[in-house]
């Protein structure tokens, strides 16, 4: 299970990645600055991408990512969650919620 975290600022990016690694040690978690996100998505092919909506990522980049969590920095800091093309919104998302999405992404990955 591959997770890519491209959140800004850096401290939050590292914090979320570390928390994911601690809670799910069998997941492969990488971080990348937003400017490197596109290349990293192409090379790492994450099953889950954790990003913010002000990263200027081109929409087509997301098309190859089955699950993503987008923190809405431009509006209220709520989050949009996409699992297998189903999008929901979450208010003040928690790590528990993020782990639930990560687990769903892992389940999805195991399906034939």
């Amino acid at each position: 299970m591959r997770v890519l975290v491209t959140l800004t600022p850096r401290m939050y990016r590292e914090a979320i990645a570390l928390s994911l690694r601690q809670s799910r040690p069998d997941f492969e978690v990488r971080i990348a600055a937003p400017e490197d996100a596109e290349a990293e998505v192409r090379d790492f092919r994450p099953h889950l991408l954790v990003r913010n909506d002000t990263d200027r990522l081109e929409p087509w980049v997301l098309e190859g990512v089955p699950c993503w969590v987008e923190v809405l920095y431009s509006d209220s800091m709520d989050a949009k969650i996409c699992v297998d093309r189903l999008v929901e919104e979450a208010e003040d998302i928690s790590m528990e919620e993020l782990l639930r999405v990560a687990d769903e992404a892992a389940d999805l990955m195991r399906q034939p």
Binding site: T8, Y12, E14, A15, L18
Partner: protein
């Protein structure tokens, strides 16, 4: 003995993520309280636990930040206050320093730098130094900013506002549109953390970005724009059209 920390951040996922960083230190840091930044729950917990260090996420306008930090300080006077912020504005840093914070760490710093900052702040005798952690690039850009972080044009507009000119009159004076004046004022408010022109003028005077002579010169020379140039009392040249 572990450093006892209260972690105050308004966003649950980020607060929990930061706690992961702190707990990765093998017991040298103990998180004794978690809360949003400025709520009553935060103050009650801080007062009850009297942590060694309060990490407060402060992405607030200047007045709100002052109130929040003052209340945290009152709740636990001996706690070291570490401000975690996205602001990279020299004025903001100076203003927070005057409020007696113990450390200022920019959110683009690394998790290792957060840990080092907590260590340093917790060892620092109260009121001595302020620990500042921020990427070199940001620091260098800050030092190149004009005094107070205001551009020459913004300083000019504050002077004219201090003279009592309306936005329309300022626009006429500077040969720009009223909308441009409003945009400059909005930038000024955001930069220096105020919400009105009177607050902006008061702060500019208090911080000596503008001098009283700049305001009164219009009355003595009989025009609102003064002569061809002058100083703002802190070395900034104010250009007049």
């Amino acid at each position: 003995m572990a450093i006892r920390v209260h972690l105050a951040d308004d966003h649950t996922m980020f607060r929990e993520g930061l706690e992961s960083i702190l707990s990765s230190r093998g017991g040298s840091i103990e998180v004794v309280g978690r809360s949003s930044t400025g709520g009553e729950d935060a103050l009650a917990l801080i007062e009850e636990n009297k942590p060694d260090v309060v990490i407060a996420q402060v992405d607030l306008d200047f007045d709100t930040a002052r109130e929040v930090l003052s209340r945290i300080r009152s709740s636990s006077p001996n706690s070291r206050i570490v401000v975690l912020t996205i602001f990279d504005n020299l004025h903001y840093l100076k203003a927070l320093s005057k409020m007696g914070i113990d450390a200022y760490i920019h959110k683009s710093s690394s998790s290792e730098e957060l840990l080092a900052t907590i260590d340093a702040a917790s060892r620092e005798p109260a009121g001595g130094n302020v620990v500042v952690s921020m990427p070199r690039g940001l620091l260098e850009r800050m030092s190149e900013e004009p005094v107070g972080g205001l551009s020459e044009r913004e300083t000019e507009i504050v002077v004219l506002a201090a003279r009592g000119l309306t936005n329309f009159q300022i626009a006429e004076e500077l040969h720009i549109s009223e909308a441009t004046v409003k945009r400059h004022l909005a930038n000024i408010y955001q930069k220096i953390g105020v919400r009105s022109r009177s607050e902006a003028v008061r702060m500019a005077l208090m911080e000596q970005w503008i001098g009283i002579e700049e305001i009164t010169s219009a009355e003595t020379d009989g025009s609102s724009s003064g002569s061809s140039g002058g100083s703002d009392g802190s070395g900034n040249q104010i250009r007049r059209s």
